[in-house]
């Protein structure tokens, strides 16, 4: 054993957290060696399923003729609602969605059943040969029409504070307006896929590309009429999720399991990309009407806002999405007198679902639009109007849902970005430039983000983890979160490595696939909470192992456990130092438990789901973006020229990963508001159902100047490593793109108001210029 002095003399190595370690799967990913569900070697006898889609938006399902399909090459069976052994309704929260259409269809793309065949193409070909006899009914395709006809998936919700009518009536200025914001397809590069394997004694193994293995387990068990304990769900990684695999992956897994149940064979269902577009829900499109009063400085004195969320044909997660839109209609601003009415519209389209931001973007954009309009109405700089309305720190600091904003950094953050982006100088330069440029007009906007962190449903804010130390000292971690590229497993490994005093290199700590048989009842990896919840749970699990080992050392070395230091793979007491491996081996032989669980629940939060009041969020994540754009007034084409972002991730666990989330979220948000246009025709058919017609940003859309700075302050709440959640908040920084485009359009209109639809396609920009 080495002398302790030697150990002390060593330079203190850097901890794993805080460093930009590579993604734990990066080497495998670049070599094509990272396994996704469709890459798993198929079990002998595996069959393939393909969905049968409704081609009518709304109608009575009178009959399903499967004769031609059943006679096609390779076809083994057609599975319909009648083949469901358990509940024919999916085990969703609202319990309003049939697994397969039963006696009616409610959107084009609704799945009536699946065809099972020996190959994927045999199944897909035959699925198109199933003939549906549908008696059409009138379809509702527009949320405004749904509001008029009171077609809702859930009842409207009203949140009110103060006297908005009076605040509007007595204000020196009043504006009324409307806005329509389109939805967004997730376009995860890996489409939806599930693989169901019947095991012995009525048990099941389900591979699913999902953000929520526990929900898949629950849904599959429910559909098969089995206890949850009979079903295990595993997901090593997803090829992207973005909210699109929170509930929507469940349908695929259930369909595969039902087919596997009927045929007693493993069945894989991988959706073709076009079917994925047609079947699965998207970001909710929203329609708004608003009425606002304000003073000469642009301060909002009263606001009445109606938001109609297009939920599609079923509730899915629309309740919490629409709630979050209500919670984020304030964005960064104190609304003293406000009434927000939220309609959850039932329409004959795909059932819209979770998507990064989860209603937050739809809540914020309308308020940012209102502030932009106020500024143009008053002839003020929009940034001044925005700052005028910010939350205060000691007063004007309670949200419309009665939560005190305790960690407000908005003013210093905006002031810093204003300076680092040279906002004022550029504002002047752009105005001068525009005056001389007849065709191209430039625009600038600096917008903030304040995003509440926690699942609004308080009970979801819990997590578990397991840390296993093997006799050779290597460590395996398992937690209830899922890896979708966001780097959760990398961050968790960093946290556990630090907790055990292990160097991060050489994969000493490995994180394994999400698996419902390891950590049960895990919440979805969603709401940006993956690291906050699972990182803490893993930290606690590791801490228990470490404390047992410290106790063991203390007893042997006759010191106190807190005098035992774990650092850089060495364990030292005042009298001795030994390697981690040696200690683990000794402890094993002394029968010390070398594994532990960990459990975490977020403190402080509570919330009344009927009145939408309380403290739904543990803390807020903040950020701001300054974006400059150019538009072509002849065509409406636009380009994003420069982006400066200042974003708050607390103390970053992995700066490279966090910056990756910020950049990726921003570009995805930019896509939502510019090129990504979902077009349903007058029959309710989604005409943009493939990347040929639905355009997510490509390399050429990345601004030449794209700078990210991290706000240098730890989370003021006690959160893992002092960090803050980062998955969703940066998405909403892209509202600055849309506001900059409106600024440019206003320049083209001689400063007049701008009514622009989102997304700001070339056509919509040209319309806004010419309106």
């Amino acid at each position: 054993m080495n002398a302790p002095e030697k150990f002390i003399a060593k330079s203190t190595p850097k901890p794993a957290t805080g460093a930009s370690h590579f993604h734990e799967s990066a080497r495998a990913q670049v070599a094509g060696a990272a396994t996704y569900i469709d890459d798993i070697p198929e079990v002998k006898g595996t069959l393939h399923a393909a969905p049968i889609l409704s081609n009518v938006a709304h109608g009575r399902l009178m009959g399903v003729d499967v004769r031609e399909a059943e006679s096609m090459p390779g076809v083994r069976a057609v599975i319909l609602a009648r083949d469901i052994p358990g509940d024919p309704i999916l085990a969703t929260f609202v319990h309003d969605e049939p697994i397969f259409a039963i006696d009616k269809v409610e959107f084009i793309g609704q799945v009536v059943g699946v065809v099972v065949a020996d190959t994927v193409m045999h199944a897909r070909r035959a699925a198109r040969k199933v003939k549906l006899d549908i008696d059409p009914l009138p379809a509702i395709l527009d949320p405004r029409e749904a509001v008029r006809k009171k077609s809702f998936v859930l009842n409207p919700v009203v949140v009110r504070r103060g006297e908005p009518e009076q605040g509007i009536a007595s204000a020196p200025h009043r504006l009324q307006g409307s806005l329509d914001v389109g939805g967004q397809e997730h376009f995860y590069l890996e489409g939806q896929v599930g693989y169901a394997l019947p095991l012995e004694q009525g048990q099941w193994w389900i591979y699913s590309s999902t953000q929520h293995p526990g929900e898949i387990q629950h849904w599959v068990a429910h559909a098969l009429g089995l206890p949850s304990s009979a079903v295990t769900v595993e997901c090593r990684r997803m090829g992207g999720g973005f909210g699109g695999k929170e509930t929507q992956s469940g349908h695929i897994a259930v369909w595969a399991a039902l087919a596997a149940h009927k045929l007693r064979r493993p069945v894989k269902l991988r959706l073709d990309r076009d079917d994925d577009f047609m079947v699965t829900g998207k970001r909710h499109p929203f329609a708004y009407d608003w009425d606002v009063g304000f003073d000469d400085s642009g301060l909002i004195t009263g606001l009445r806002l109606e938001m109609a969320a297009n939920c599609g044909f079923s509730a899915d997660l629309s309740g919490p999405v629409a709630d979050r839109a209500v919670f984020h209609a304030d964005n960064a601003y104190f609304l003293s007198d406000v009434e927000i009415t939220s309609y959850r519209c039932k329409t004959n389209t795909q059932s819209h679902t979770a998507f990064r931001g989860f209603g937050g973007p739809q809540g914020m954009i309308v308020t940012e639009a209102i502030l932009g309009d106020i500024a143009r109405h008053l002839g003020l700089d929009p940034l001044d109007v925005r700052r005028r309305n910010l939350y205060g720190t000691t007063e004007r600091n309670v949200t419309h849902y009665q939560m005190q904003v305790e960690d407000n950094i908005l003013e210093p953050l905006l002031a810093r970005l204003e300076q680092t982006s040279a906002y004022r100088e550029r504002r002047a330069q752009i105005a001068a430039w525009n005056a001389k440029s007849p065709v191209i007009k430039r625009g600038l906007a600096l917008t903030p983000v304040k995003f509440g962190i926690s699942f609004t449903a308080t009970f979801f804010n819990q997590a578990g983890a397991l840390v296993h130390v093997y006799t050779d000292g290597s460590v395996q971690v398992n937690h209830g979160g899922t890896e979708m590229g966001q780097g959760l497993n990398t961050k968790v490994a960093q946290i556990v490595a630090d907790e055990l005093g292990l160097p991060f290199e050489r994969e000493r700590v490995r994180v394994t696939a999400a698996d419902t048989s390891k950590v049960p009842n895990a919440s979805a990896t969603a709401a940006s909470s993956g690291t906050d919840l699972n990182g803490r749970a893993a930290q606690y699990a590791a801490r228990q192992v470490r404390e047992r080992l410290a106790q063991f050392v203390a007893e042997k070395q006759n010191c106190k456990p807190e005098q035992v230091i774990f650092d850089h793979g060495q364990v030292s007491s005042p009298t001795a130092v030994m390697s981690w491996e040696q200690l683990v081996d000794d402890a094993y032989h002394a029968r010390v438990q070398l594994w532990s669980d960990g459990f975490y629940k977020t403190p402080k939060i509570h919330y009344d789901k009927h009145t939408l009041t309380g403290r739904p969020f543990y803390y807020f994540s903040y950020g701001a973006a300054c974006t400059e754009v150019a538009i072509d007034t002849l065509t409406g084409e636009s380009r994003v020229l420069k982006v400066d972002i200042l974003h708050d991730v607390g103390t970053s666990i992995n700066p490279a990963i966090d910056i990756g989330q910020i950049e990726g979220g921003f570009i995805q948000g930019m896509g939502w508001l510019t090129t990504e246009q979902l077009v349903w025709n007058d029959k309710g058919y989604l005409a943009t159902h493939a990347p040929s017609t639905y355009k997510i940003p490509a390399t050429g859309d990345v601004p030449e100047h794209f700078k990210i700075e991290l706000w240098p302050e730890p989370n003021r709440e006690d959160n893992v490593g002092g960090s803050k959640a980062v998955g969703e908040p940066p998405f909403m920084l892209a509202i600055s793109v849309w506001e900059a485009l409106r600024d440019a359009a206003s320049a083209a209109r001689g400063g007049k108001p701008v009514h622009m639809l989102a997304p700001a396609t070339a056509e919509n920009v040209l319309k806004a210029i010419q309106a």
Partner: protein, 487 residues
């Protein structure tokens, strides 16, 4: 249907596959038949690039590398080539290729599903640029990666990786060894049989096979027909592939025109057009993404005749002619006369499109090609307008205008030309021509744009042409540069 053996070189080994149906895709062969699941399917239509692989072919004694979409490429079409997938790049000891290592170091992968495709596009860039001592600029990286979509990163780290891979320890393909193996494969090639997948080597063979098998599906790069297979579920017992016909793989330059063979890829065809008319560079780079341009051919684009195919408005404006061949001989016609209706043309069942003849520029030619699409790169036009004009002594001596996205076929804007031809080149003339152009077509409304927008913008693009002809700068976002210095 009996199909011939597919033979190609992969990782230095000869791979030989039998009984592959003629309409089976390369991606299906890789993932399902060979169990090589490193290459991913993202969309099945050549628009996302997750399935990108690199093909190697011998051309003039050199190895030519092309990144292509394996999801819509028919497997038989790679017979006689070398193939690299993402699984083939790392050294035997696990050392990553610079394309891979740069992606790791730049944090270029998050979910990782698009990553194999990006790595292969980077590998193609590495071989085509880095190994030839060319620097990879940001612009080049953006252009050559525009056919690969990533939904996680926002691309910045991937563009960084493209620019940084040259700084890593080099790793090069042994070109001589591969060429040797390709030579050996070529020597063993047998003549195509009249069944299954037919890939004739000579024009004579092609014409004879076409006449003998009018029922065979004619394909070139298969970047559209591939979708008929993957998305429309069409099946082809017989496929006739023109891309191996030696005569049709050439671009021939003459004094007054260049002749582009029907098997010349879009990449090479546009390079030839850009050589004569450098202002077309951006238009060329915005045509689909590189993997599609590397597989698809100009002849295929023309023969397919989509009303929103981007090359035809340009070719019409350039006054291009096409040459059709059959055992009966050949015939030549202006391109716009080829189309008779939506995806209908004059090609007889025994005929093939052989050449596209494009006039060389004249001294006073003014030429612009404009494309309006939702996304800047890798998108299909809502409206495409190409204008070629020659002014002498202030009078429009020659004008030809091609338009796309405004009718059932690519069209020539003949009425608008009349409004311009012989008129003084003035704002007044342009305004009259703009009105003519807006009323000349009755475009449809669809998911790309409304009819009203298409008409309006057609006219506005003619305005843009006028302004550009007057030397006005900074009026087109395609070449817009922020010049002022800001903090």
């Amino acid at each position: 249907m009996e199909a011939k053996t597919i033979r190609f070189i992969r990782s230095g080994e000869l791979v030989s596959l039998t009984n592959v149906p003629p309409d089976r895709t390369l991606l299906e062969v890789l993932r399902e038949d060979l169990g090589c699941t490193g290459t991913k399917e993202g969309c099945g239509e050549g628009d996302c690039g997750a399935c990108t692989v690199v093909l190697g072919e011998a051309e003039q004694g050199q190895l030519r590398f092309r990144a292509i979409n394996s999801c819509i490429r028919l497997a038989h079409s790679i017979d006689g080539m070398a193939l690299w997938t993402v699984e083939d790049l790392a050294a035997a000891d696990g050392t990553l290729h610079p394309a891979q290592q740069a992606m790791v170091q730049c944090h270029g992968s998050q979910c990782g599903f698009c990553t194999p495709g990006f790595v292969m596009s980077l590998f193609g860039m590495y071989e085509n640029h880095v190994c030839k001592g060319e620097r990879i600029t940001r612009e080049l990286a953006q252009e050559e990666l525009s056919g690969n979509l990533c939904r996680c990163t926002g691309y910045r780290p991937i563009l960084d990786a493209a620019q940084q891979m040259a700084e890593l320890p080099p790793m090069r393909v042994d070109e001589a060894a591969v060429l040797h193996q390709l030579d050996a494969l070529a020597a063993e090639r047998s003549a195509p049989r009249g069944s299954g997948y037919m890939a004739p080597r000579t024009l004579g063979e092609l014409v004879a096979l076409r006449a003998a098998h009018p029922d065979a599906q004619l394909v070139a790069g298969c970047t559209d027909v591939g979708l008929w297979v993957t998305k429309m579920h069409m099946q082809f017992a017989k496929v006739l592939d023109v891309t191996q016909v030696a005569e049709l793989k050439r671009v021939e330059r003459y004094d007054n025109h260049i002749a582009i063979g029907a098997a010349v890829t879009l990449t090479d065809a546009f390079a030839a057009l850009v050589q004569d008319r450098p202002q077309l560079h951006t238009f060329a780079a915005r045509f689909a993404g590189l993997p599609v341009r590397n597989s698809g051919t100009l002849g295929g684009n023309v023969a397919n005749g989509s009303p929103i195919g981007d090359s035809m408005p340009l070719l019409i404006a350039l006054g291009a002619h096409i040459v059709l061949m059959s055992p009966r001989g050949h015939r030549e016609m202006p391109l716009e006369q080829f189309y008779t209706g939506y995806r209908k043309n004059l090609l007889e069942p025994d005929e093939v499109l052989a050449w596209i003849k494009v006039p060389r520029p004249c001294a006073d030619e003014q030429l612009r090609a404009y494309k309006i699409s939702k996304r800047y790169d890798d998108d299909i036009s809502a409206v495409c307008l190409a204008v070629r004009l020659a002014v002498q002594d202030g009078v429009v001596q020659h004008v030809s205008i091609g338009a796309g996205g405004v009718a059932a076929t690519p069209v020539r804007a003949a009425k608008t030309e009349v409004a311009l031809r012989g008129q003084p080149w003035s704002l007044q003339t342009v305004q009259q021509a703009t009105a003519a152009l807006r009323s000349e077509f009755q475009p449809i409304s669809d998911m790309r744009a409304s009819s009203a927008y298409r008409r309006e913008v057609l006219g506005n693009l003619l305005q843009r042409f006028w302004l550009e002809s007057q030397g006005m700068q900074q009026i087109n976002l395609e070449n817009f540069k922020l010049v002022e210095a800001t903090a």
